[in-house]
């Protein structure tokens, strides 16, 4: 706070210090570990996630297969790592898309207001009536199940949330005197939007987005679980849980239970990151989650 020297934005050391000051060291480390596991894990653990080996089917965890094998004898660890990468990529991409579109819509209706705001606002409320899972089911029927349908469902159902956050932020910013001061200085509308509004809303959007990743991962896995997500043999956590389900009642738990911990971990990290970010940006609490 008392450091007034010119700060270089992309200096890693400074960034790390800023993260530490914000109290976000723990979550950031967790995120880095998770990304490393998802992307570097398959390079270290080189078993194929799709190689069928019926002789090895349904083997409990062992040294050769630390997470055991599934009904086709595929290595659960390899599939777990594949699932991690897939969840991360689909979740993050769909959330980014939703956040971008939502941000644009939210700032437009926040700035224009009036009738446009009313109509588009009600449309967004209409989308809110569909949870991602339901939207995903419908889209899976419409365009066929897969990563695209799941990602689209998450993106579409996410848009209203981002639009809302941005809209309310824009509305409250419009009331702030520094925007009036800009106008009095002769700033154009474009200048105000680009220089003042967008930087001010990104914080709220980032918070919403990291909570959104948590939600996306859960929805994608749920779609996989009911068989409408990413299709086999591609490893996907939700589908892995379903596949292992029949073995559960006979005590062969690892096929179903282990991927669940992956989901739990990724979702928890995203929530914690979002909350830490919110606490940092908004210590006195305007936003709810």
């Amino acid at each position: 706070m008392t450091d007034h020297r010119e700060r270089s934005r992309w200096n890693p050391k400074e960034m790390w210090r800023a993260i530490d000051r914000a109290g976000m060291k723990g979550v950031t480390i967790a995120i880095i570990i998770f990304i490393a596991v998802a992307f570097l894990g398959p390079l270290v653990w080189t078993d194929s996630p799709t190689q069928v080996n019926l002789e090895d089917a349904v083997k409990a965890p062992s040294l050769a297969h630390p997470f055991g094998t599934d009904e086709y004898g595929r290595d659960v660890l390899a599939r777990f790592l594949g699932g991690a990468k897939l969840s991360l990529i689909v979740g993050v991409c769909s959330v980014l898309a939703a956040a971008l579109i939502g941000m644009v819509i939210g700032s437009i209706i926040g700035l224009v207001g009036g009738f446009t705001d009313g109509v588009i606002g009600r449309m967004l409320d209409g989308i809110l009536a569909f949870p991602a899972l339901i939207m995903g089911m419908a889209l899976a029927l419409a365009i066929g199940p897969g990563a695209l349908a799941a990602g689209l469902a998450v993106a579409i159902t996410g848009i209203p949330w981002y639009a809302r956050v941005v809209r309310s932020e824009v509305l409250s910013l419009r009331e702030r005197e520094f925007i009036d001061a800009e106008r009095a200085l002769g700033a154009s509308r474009r200048h105000i939007i680009i220089r003042h509004l967008i930087p001010a809303v990104t914080g709220g959007v980032a918070v919403q987005a990291s909570l959104g990743v948590a939600y996306a991962v859960l929805a994608i896995a749920a779609l996989g679980f009911i068989g409408l997500g990413v299709q086999p043999p591609t490893p996907e956590w939700g589908a892995m849980i379903t596949e292992g389900r029949t073995y559960l009642t006979s005590g062969q738990w690892w096929m179903s239970i282990i991927p669940g911990f992956g989901i739990l971990a990724l979702v928890t990290i995203s929530i914690l990151f979002g909350e830490a970010l919110r606490d940092h940006l908004d210590p006195h609490g305007k936003l709810h989650f």
């Binding site: 010119e6 005197e177 520094f178 009036d180 001061a181 009095a184 200085l185 002769g186 930087p199």
Partner: protein
């Protein structure tokens, strides 16, 4: 019970105290220390403070923001947030030993023996409960009365604090009350069980002067009726002067000086108290403006300006919510001169200021700045003209983008209008020059607004306005949010800048004393219209509109002699939504009453007309000539300083 004499060797000069030979001590505290957990360990907000209150006296605790006055008072009743750490050597409140008292003992005192009222009556009332119920709740809690009895008592209390039509008002919600009525309701709540001690934390800070005068009168009246002791916390020495018997001056969590009100105000011993008193702008002081020849021509000319909000509903006229916030205003301002614009909250000052610089587009009328008419210009066409006129806002925090550094804030106007030819070095040089102009320096370049004090922030706001070298700056309550000492500095800065740069100011404020100090001329606004204008000293000395006279008379002055008979206006300003025919001021006008309610006041709207004897002055009252003569004899506000002149 001996602490009072220990700490206050001089006998209290309050008349009540003389009548009662041994006033009961209500509150004694010694060595009060309060600290809060901060980012680096505990932060001491109060560091060893002593004070006491006896029955029947009003003790004021004064100090600037952050001096710890509110914290001291609230700590006595356990009303601070839980994380606060409160310690004291000795503490007795209403007979209860605070060093031993537990939460339950404190609760038994609160409301019963000690009543409390707070600064912001809106947020201090529960928004989802009817006002009457909140008072009745206090009755139930304190007296254990049944519902209907509690209700009756609440209505009675509402009546007692002067709320008209209490039966009906009982059922209103806080947001349906005006600020003054809310504070009355808070007082009613504090008086439920006729406590012997009343703690009033800045009870009038959120109110207009005319309403402030009403509330202070009410507090004094009740204090005498109930023979209460009052601990009055305030930052306003004017309030102290007319109200308190004894004063405790606080600064940074410590007591600087204590004594009788007369001593503190007239014979202060400590330098800090002297400085504080010197910084208070005084109504009874001539304008500080150096008399300058008006060097030719007008910078601003406003004619018949109107700003309406809301809309008319043709088919359901009862649903129309059209408000004429500015309702036909004519103004002129000479180059390098200052026009003060005063009026109560909601009278349209801000709207007028914003309409002049076209931040709010006027509904009708003409604005000319530097000879160029601004009416009907598009946003785009206005943009290059905006270097001529600028604005500085009330809240220095809100008017600076929190994520920008000072350098970036000041670079914006330069970039926008390409004001600095050359490279970054030239630009930075110009920014430093601007900073130095407002008394800051190079070391502030890289700070963000939250790393500056309130006064420094406002200086940045001024520097930003100056960056485009305007001819006119609208200062909308630009010093209102600042502590008196900082306020005085900023006022001096503004005057210096005017002399150096020749900029003209439209100085909007609700504080009449500040306006007198800085303005050449003054315009008084009521319900969207100007009711009086003229050279500031003349207007203040001999107002020619009854509203001006009432405003002036309501301002608490720094004098201990309570000899002025005040004109206390009744009621609140009516809403600009429904203005009666005839004179807009009629329902609050004391002059009209005094003249025996002449009919013309209710039938014909008085226009702003120049006075016969002095063309520089105008007033919108049919009886403008009678105002000064009709004032209560000793209430001519400037009697104490300039008796010879008038």
């Amino acid at each position: 019970m001996t602490a009072t004499t220990l700490m206050n060797p001089e006998p209290s000069s309050a008349p009540q105290a003389l009548e009662a030979p041994e006033p009961a001590n209500l509150l004694t505290v010694e060595g009060l220390r309060v600290s809060f957990p901060g980012e680096e360990g505990m932060v001491d907000a109060v560091r060893g403070v002593d004070f006491s209150v006896d029955a029947g006296e009003i003790v004021a605790v004064v100090g600037e923001s952050g001096s710890g006055k509110t914290v001291s008072a609230l700590s006595l009743l356990g009303l601070l947030p839980k994380q606060a750490k409160v310690e004291m050597d000795r503490g007795i409140i209403a007979g209860e030993d605070l060093t031993k008292a537990r939460e339950s003992a404190l609760r038994a005192i609160r409301g019963r023996k000690v009543g409390v009222i707070f600064q912001d009556p809106l947020s201090s009332l529960n928004p989802v409960q009817r006002v009457g119920h909140q008072i009745a709740e206090a009755v139930t809690v304190q007296n254990g009365l049944r519902r209907s009895q509690a209700r009756d008592r609440a209505v009675e209390l509402l009546e007692q604090v002067g709320i008209p039509d209490p039966e009906r008002r009982y059922r209103a919600y806080p947001h349906e009350f005006s600020g003054g009525m809310r504070q009355r309701a808070m007082i009613a709540m504090a008086l439920v069980s006729e406590p012997s001690l009343l703690i009033a934390d800045e009870p009038t800070t959120a109110l207009d002067v005319t309403v402030q005068a009403q509330i202070l009168d009410l507090i004094r009246r009740l204090q005498q009726e109930l023979n209460m002791g009052v601990l009055l916390i305030t930052h306003d020495l004017g309030v102290v002067a007319g109200t308190a018997d004894r004063v405790v001056v606080m600064r940074r969590g410590e007591v600087v000086e204590r004594g009788s009100t007369a001593d503190i105000l007239e014979r202060p011993r400590e330098q800090y108290t002297k400085d504080l008193l010197a910084a208070v702008p005084r109504l009874d002081e001539e304008s500080h403006q150096t008399i300058r020849e008006s060097d030719g021509g007008e910078i601003l000319k406003v004619s018949d300006l109107r700003v309406d909000f809301g809309k008319v509903r043709r088919f359901r006229p009862e649903k129309s919510n059209l408000i004429s916030a500015v309702n036909g205003v004519d103004l002129e301002l000479g180059k390098s001169r200052t026009l003060g614009l005063v009026g109560e909250s909601g009278c349209g000052k801000t709207t007028l200021g914003r309409a002049i610089i076209q931040l709010t587009r006027p509904t009708d009328g003409q604005v000319e700045i530097g000879g160029a008419s601004l009416s009907g210009l598009s946003d785009k066409a206005l943009r290059p003209l905006r270097t001529e006129f600028q604005i500085v806002f009330q809240d220095p925090q809100a008017s600076l983008n929190p994520r920008f550094t000072v350098e970036r804030i000041l670079a914006e106007p330069l970039d926008m209008h390409d004001l600095v030819p050359g490279g970054p070095a030239e630009k930075r040089a110009r920014i430093v020059e601007l900073l130095e102009l407002v008394g800051l320096g190079r070391e502030h370049l890289k700070r963000r607004p939250h790393e500056l004090s309130g006064g420094q922030r406002q200086r940045i706001g001024i520097a930003r306005a100056l960056a485009v070298e305007p001819e006119l700056i609208v200062l909308d309550e630009a010093v209102s949010a600042l502590d008196v000492s900082v306020q005085a500095e900023v006022l001096l800065l503004l005057q210096r800048l005017q002399e150096e740069l020749g900029v003209a100011y439209l100085f909007i404020a609700h504080d009449l004393a500040v306006v007198r100090q800085i303005s050449d001329e003054v315009a008084v606004m009521y319900l969207g219209r100007i009711v009086e204008t003229g050279p500031v000293d003349k207007v203040y000395r001999a107002p020619s509109h009854p509203y001006t006279a009432a405003l002036l008379s309501a301002v608490p002055v720094l004098s201990t002699e309570r000899r002025r008979e005040r004109i206390v206006l009744k009621g609140d300003p009516p809403s600009p939504g429904n203005i009666p025919p005839g004179c807009p001021f009629q329902n609050r006008c004391w002059l009209r009453e005094k003249l025996g309610n002449p009919e013309i006041c209710t039938t014909t709207r008085p226009d702003l007309t120049p006075a016969i004897d002095d063309m520089a002055r105008s007033s919108a009252c049919h009886f403008s000539g009678d105002v000064t003569a009709s004032l209560p004899p000793e209430s001519v506000p400037t009697a104490d300083s300039s008796g010879a002149t008038s």
